[in-house]
Symmetry: C2
Subunit: 415 residues, 2 copies
């Protein structure tokens, strides 16, 4: 994409009321726009990165057999009354509104209820199980405070997967598959090193749930990490009994702030019993379906990457989620030779299928470089009268700062 | 995809309260699920078709230089007060809710206001223009009645594009480009023959707006069509003066019911003046930006296709939007030979990158055929002991009913 065509501008300052580093950087770089506290729109660069994260999550959900659906935000109160989650005293972050006829509707903060209800039309026998279903859907949560940028919003995209199994053994098997898929996702988006499988409180149906917690001071959770064993325990369940059960010792643990980038949870028959989602087993006996839920917020993942992969100059995206692979910067000379060579290089890179942001703007070299640092595309290629004199292009790695010269003829094949 | 894995089941009857043919067919075939009147979830088959439609629209929006963004549903009342659209007396289909602190927020039924406001951060000079921005975003409209299935919903996906130009001439140029792009979209999704560019009422800034109206009895609009000239006039502007202006004569017109599948609208400076979106011209003078808006509802398009491309057996998708290109049906024999051959054919088709729904279920031939008719995939391939005896597969075109035999060895290359 030509940067002269990109409508967003970088800016020196984020809005005064913005307190989260991730949102501050992403707003300044033109990735997102703040509509109100906890409500952010995605601009072209931001949407590209968000879609890369979504793409990685989708691949991993498909790989374990997930079927993609898209449920609605508007939800009838009835299903939520059946599970006792309609009341504002039980769920304190509902957004509710009304139809013209006065009927109450809620803006779904999660989708266990509607999906369980929906599945009654499709699951009947043990032969229809196992099933796992996922979606990328906007959730609405009426947070009292929303000060974490896109890490915790009032409106945000969520990948939520739900599993349906005939028995506990099958459920556990799938649960372990999701653990693996989630570990691969965080690895692929560049959060692997900082992310720990964390034991957290379970529910009526399992002793623990599992969180994937990424260490950063921007986090709202406190976890205790065993770096050698690569596991952690959430503060909420830190007892001697749990440590013994999990097989770690207190002296090996470091206290860390962390962001919960993913969670997996056994639901047992809580929703299937309340909403009547049953199946017939091989003997024709009706039994409630065993369920699990598995969440990742792609926007939260993006915000967490912005927190931990950035420096004082701006964002530093991993290749897998960068809006473009290459930032091609032309420092025009009066002869027009640089422009011509840069146009050719841009065309050559695109022919190779490489995603390029081409800074063809008529602004100073200083502005181009500082914008490039802020936007944080992993590889920068600079063409100027000087580099062209050497039939070369200057390359610079945004993360390591490593620079070098590359023959122009080899640009496209170098990546 | 193996049909034994697909969790949705077809059904004989739609819910009793469903009155729209499109929703009735789509529910029975397992494409969508009704949450409440005017609120439908998309199941795997439905989401695949919706995504095909979205993909076609996106390609055409990108081709005319559109930049994709994603704005939020939750919107602060302030921007809407500035344009006098917050009041329920002015806009009668608002859904509104409140933050915990009591602040009113609206669920956007359109996005002129937030986008105009957002653009103030990015557009400054005539050099920044023209710009066109689009999104696929969920709209919420509190319709009194919602009886048209996914053609008119209370919650629905909308592709809305907005253009920003320095002057009227540049605006008109882009407006004409969108007309072309829209015509290509409706052609590509299989609605070309039935869809007419229709003159409708304009606003303060232009005499007409333009609608793309698809003729079907399911439509809520009445239009007058000149089939030879391939244009129409909406009933709301049918006067002798307009007919003369448009260059058609009353006697050539046929009255038709139609669905408005797209609309394009000149907004002039209505929003830029109210919200202060100005640019500096070449002389440094501040001027309001000229805007236009351009909408297509992908779900409405899908519903309209379901209305006009279906028969008494079910849906009949055009290839471009079908959830799969081929429905491979195996009628198993006891020897296991059909199963083996069908598995191989499935693998061969997939290697070629062909999207196949493979009916590997253990149900009767009759059930497989009637499900296939209902689901409406364009090409059906049937393998049975009989066809295998002739080293062949039976092909059948869902639309024309044309059938034939094809050597098994040539399956993958035949498409």
């Amino acid at each position: 994409m030509r940067q002269s065509h990109l409508f967003t501008k970088t800016r020196r300052e984020a809005p005064k009321d913005e307190v989260a580093k991730n949102a501050e950087l992403l707003i300044r770089a033109g990735y997102i726009h703040k509509e109100m506290a906890g409500v952010y729109s995605y601009l072209p660069l931001g949407l590209r990165t968000l879609n890369k994260i979504i793409g990685i999550i989708r691949e991993e959900m498909d790989a374990i057999g997930g079927q993609e659906v898209h449920l609605t935000a508007l939800q009838d109160r009835k299903a939520w009354e059946a599970t006792h989650r309609w009341g504002d005293d039980v769920v304190d972050n509902w957004f509710k509104t009304k139809l013209k006829n006065g009927q109450d509707v809620g803006l779904a903060f999660t989708h266990e209820e509607p999906l369980t209800q929906l599945m009654r039309d499709h699951l009947r026998s043990f032969r229809d199980l196992p099933v796992s279903v996922y979606q990328f859907q906007t959730k609405f949560r009426n947070e009292e405070r929303a000060k974490s940028g896109i890490i915790r919003g009032r409106e945000f995209l969520m990948k939520d997967m739900y599993s349906f199994d005939a028995d506990e053994r099958a459920h556990q098997e799938f649960y372990e598959k999701v653990k693996g898929a989630y570990a691969r996702i965080f690895e692929r988006v560049g959060l692997g090193d900082a992310t720990f499988l964390t034991f957290a409180s379970g529910g009526s149906f399992s002793r623990y749930s599992h969180e994937f917690q990424t260490i950063t001071d921007a986090g709202e959770d406190t976890i205790y990490v065993d770096k050698i064993k690569k596991i952690a325990v959430n503060k909420e369940v830190l007892t001697d009994e749990v440590l013994k059960d999990v097989g770690i010792v207190r002296s090996d643990l470091a206290e860390k702030k962390a962001v919960e980038v993913g969670n997996i949870f056994s639901l047992g028959t809580r929703f299937s019993e309340a909403l009547g989602l049953n199946y017939k087993d091989a003997e024709g006996k009706s039994k409630p379906v065993i369920m699990g839920s598995y969440g990742i917020g792609p926007g939260r993942v993006m915000g967490t990457i912005a927190e931990i992969r950035s420096d004082d100059k701006g964002l530093v995206w991993p290749e897998s989620v960068a809006p473009f692979a290459v930032h091609l910067i032309a420092l025009y000379d009066e002869s027009g030779r640089v422009k011509q060579t840069a146009d050719e290089a841009y065309a050559a890179l695109r022919r190779k299928g490489i995603e390029v942001l081409y800074d063809d703007r008529d602004v100073s070299a200083g502005e181009k470089f500082s914008d490039a640092d802020l936007i944080g595309i992993p590889m920068r290629y600079v063409l100027s009268a000087r580099t062209i004199g050497q039939a070369s292009i200057e390359s610079k790695d945004r993360r390591t700062g490593e620079a070098g010269m590359l023959p122009i003829s080899r640009i496209a094949s170098s990546l």
